[in-house]
């Protein structure tokens, strides 16, 4: 690389080979982030896009200095990040406002931490409150405010300390559609008019439209382990229009990236979930969601093949909601997803046309063939004379390969599917898998 270029335009944040792993008892480590590299330039809004579990929030927290990555380096203005910095402020998904402090006191908290005198503190806080459109709410407590207003307080609290970098962790996902639209537009106005004292914004989101509406660069994260699968440059002028063909094209591109399988053209035999054999991490998905998606794709106007962006928009589903459902269906071979499309297989079509009992039979058959963990549990239940087995035993078995939380979720997912398919039963009281379905 040319040295002079780096000197001329040093990135605000530089992330190099960052890995994040957690110890998992004796059995080894769980990788959350795998060798992530990225740079954040001044004057940019960068989005980190991916489903839950892709490590995007972990990366944001590492940049915030809230956690120390296991490997790799993160530099801010050329200096290694160690611990939180006064140049970086965070806006939280849950707002993280102190319920016992008023709006004004909440905004002042960062200034107080720096030992700024009360009078100066108040003036700065009032300016920030004014800027963000919270005039008149200074003495209100957070619980008196609506979600949108609360997130404005979170924003004012972040801006008042004059950070160079603003980190936003799913800032709009706890808000309803209309509220997040307003807040996003206000934020973009302040940014484009240069009225916010910040140099760059890094934002984590699972909403693809949000990312395309706001960001100059979008980094797309793949799961298991979290890694960057693609980067998209959004060159559209602000304000952006959802109906603009160029906008739609970028959406398509992102969906294709997210449904593409790494290094594989044969989509049927690759699977999106981490691990193999019985140790596949399954997402928590309800049977109703699975059946609902199959039926939606089968019905008008999709008739068995749907383009993901309009499908997601019409169902009001984010990446977090749509992809786990689609991918579970793909694992069971009811659908195929590729190039931003979702298509019903012949089996999926049969499922839609069947009655409840036949649906269960189909589901049970797919479960035993394509979910090794379900087959494994069933096999052990068949072998045992009493047809009973402790669920904890399987949880422990899974924990050799994944985190405790993922193991619990996976067991829950398998239980829910097996209960529907009447493949085996589960008794919560005794935490036992059994073969006897009460009839």
């Amino acid at each position: 690389m040319d040295n002079s270029v780096i000197v001329k335009n040093p990135p605000l944040v530089s992330v190099q080979d960052v890995c994040q792993t957690y110890d998992n008892g004796a059995s080894g480590q769980i990788v959350v982030l795998d060798k992530v590299n990225m740079e954040l330039q001044r004057g940019e809004i960068v989005g980190l896009l991916g489903r839950s579990g892709s490590g995007k929030s972990t990366l944001l927290r590492a940049i915030a200095g809230l956690l120390q990555p296991s490997q790799g380096t993160i530099t801010f203005e050329g200096k290694l990040i160690s611990g939180t910095s006064s140049e970086v402020a965070v806006v939280f998904q849950s707002f993280a406002l102190f319920p016992w402090l008023t709006v004004l006191e909440n905004v002042e908290i960062g200034l107080e931490a720096r030992g700024i005198k009360p009078a100066e503190r108040r003036q700065k806080a009032l300016s920030a409150i004014d800027l963000i459109g919270l005039d008149g709410y200074e003495s209100a407590y957070p619980k008196e405010l609506s979600g949108g207003m609360r997130q404005r307080v979170g924003l004012a609290r972040a801006l008042v300390v004059h950070p160079k970098l603003l980190l936003m962790d799913e800032p709009f996902s706890a808000l309803d559609v209309l509220t997040s639209e307003t807040l996003r537009n206000d934020l973009l106005d302040l940014w484009s008019e240069g009225r916010m004292p910040i140099e760059a914004i890094l934002m984590v989101t699972h909403n693809i439209e949000d990312a395309v509406l706001m960001c100059d660069h979008i980094l797309i994260f793949g799961s298991n382990p979290g890694h960057i699968i693609g980067e998209i440059h959004v060159d559209l002028p602000q304000p952006r229009n959802r109906l603009d063909p160029a906008f739609r094209e970028i959406l398509e591109e992102i969906y294709s990236l997210m449904t593409a399988k790494a290094g594989s053209t044969n989509t049927i035999h690759s699977q999106p979930f981490l691990g193999n054999g019985i140790a596949i991490v399954l997402p928590k998905v309800s049977i109703n969601e699975l059946a609902g998606l199959i039926e939606t794709v089968a019905a008008e106007p999709y008739n068995g093949k749907a383009d993901l962006p309009p499908l997601a928009a019409s169902l009001r589903l984010g990446v977090d909601d749509l992809f786990p459902v689609g991918e579970t269906l793909q694992l069971l071979r009811f659908v195929e997803m590729e190039e931003g499309d979702i298509r019903l297989t012949a089996l999926g079509q049969r499922f839609v046309e069947s009655e409840l009992d036949d649906r269960k039979r189909l589901f049970s058959q797919q479960l035993s063939t394509y979910v090794p963990l379900a087959a494994h549990i069933r096999c052990i239940l068949d072998e045992r004379p009493g047809h009973k087995a402790s669920a904890q035993r399987f949880r422990d078995e899974l924990q050799d390969h994944m985190s405790e939380e993922a193991a619990n979720d996976t067991i829950k997912a398998v239980t829910s599917m097996a209960r529907y398919a009447e493949y085996f039963a589960y008794d919560e009281e005794s935490d036992l898998f059994t073969l006897d379905n009460p009839s």
């Binding site: 957690y22 809230l66 120390q68 965070v90 939280f92 016992w100 931490a113 009032l126």
Partner: protein
Amino acid sequence: MVFLPHNSTGQRAVAAFARIRILPNIYDLIAFVLLGGAIALVVHGTADMSGSLAILKTQTISLKISHLPEYALRTTLRMFAGILVSLIFTFVVATFAAKNSRAGQIIVPAMDILQSVPVLGFLTFTVTFFLGLFPGQQIGAEFASIFAIFTSQVWNMAFSFYQSLTSIPTDLDEACRSFKLSAWQRFWRLEAPFAAPGLIWNTMMSMSGGWFFVVASEAITVGNTDIRLPGIGSYLALAIDQKNFSAIGAAVLAMVIIIVLYNQLLFRPILAWADKFKLEQSASKEQVQSWVYDIIRHTRLMKRLSVPFVWIGQQLMMVRFSSAEHQVNAADSNHHNKIADYAWFLCVLGGIGWGCWVTFDYLQQALSWGDVWIAFTSGLMTLLRVVVLIVLASLIWVPVGIWIGLRPALAQRIQPIAQFLAAFPANVLFPFVVIAIVVTGANPNIWLSPLIILGTQWYILFNVIAGAASFPTDLKEAVAIYQIRSWTWWRRVMLPGIFPYYITGALTATGGSWNASIVAEVASWGNTQLEAYGLGAYIANATTAGDVRRVVLGIVVMAFFVTFFNRILWRPLYVFAERRIRFN
């Protein structure tokens, strides 16, 4: 200033804040009277504490009603001194236990055992210790009494605070870290406010519980030491000695007035103020009302006068005792050195072993295994009493509590009464039972037993009322639609619905009953003394005789019984209730 171009409104707001109104209003007047009165009472009450013990001997307790306000004041101050010490202990020890995992490994189980140690058994040692610390001075006896109150109040407060500190919400924790709040700022801005509702509730419960012990700890007889500190407890003890019914009545009335007063003047304002610390994101419907709090909020001059204190508070808030620079992420700091962990574990184990050996060695110098057997069988007898009475009280109060709780209007009126009854020191009423037993010639082994639950049964009642009152409306409607009645209604609907609340109440009642057995199994009226066979009587008799070894043995056995049953019965039930039956 980056915001300068657009902050005209900001400057206007600053000007508005600066506009001063200092004319006093009527609320100022009332607030001044209240504040002035409180200060005068504290000064007056504490002035006499530092006399010598000789004065105490000459100034005997008088049963004149005119002395009662003075005695009431002294007793109340002891209670508040106990609360103050408990709060300091809570802030220091519970915080330490929560922040330092190794300290927590010792402190938490230690507190768990200490809270099952009978408070009244302590008196023997503490009186000797504090009198030795201040020979010939009244303050020693005062400290012994305050210490007894403290040991009855502190544990649930400390536990509540510890639990709050260990369950701080992640997002608020991250917000504090990202804004680099110092440990000091973090404590006052995040941890203390977050823990406040639980701590305040437990402080009120402790205050109630303390009455029982203040009555027992003012008139202290240990061996040949006989001390009567001026206070309601001594007044009552004398009234019982002299069989003076009107004096007992006056003491009870004085107690009722004090309890009502400090609830109105102190706890309700604090509850009303603390409403904002509740970690709920939506405004709650029911707010605690307090006229005192309303007065304080409406004062004008008082607010101006408090400005210097606010300023001092703000300055203190900016103090940085420790830098936030060394903050590491929580996951990293959990990586303990395995060897150090084992070494630490061995040290703790060694310490416990040494403690056990010292106790054993001390006891075996004068006691034999026969004594242990006697103490243990007495314990079984008291256990039988506690179990039978808790079952009886449950059979009575659970249906009554459900009946009241399902009628909101009634529940609102009964609930404060039940809480007041739980606060009322039941030992005051013991003489009446003693008279009844003497007159009827009944068997004290059976009929003294109800005394141990006299004061504690109300915990069952008001918890069940609370449970039934918070039973979800939609479930009530479902019950009506499907016409669920009689046994099905009890078994499938109501009993599971109130179960978590019942467990809380029964757990508290059981703990209190063990403590009460020390004063309940030996009760007197004038020269008449009745005794029931049990561990409580064993400890009480050993205390009166000044037999320290038997007191220790009794305490150890009782602590064992209480801890054992907490572990094998209550804890699992509690966990079960929390996991399976709690709505939400």
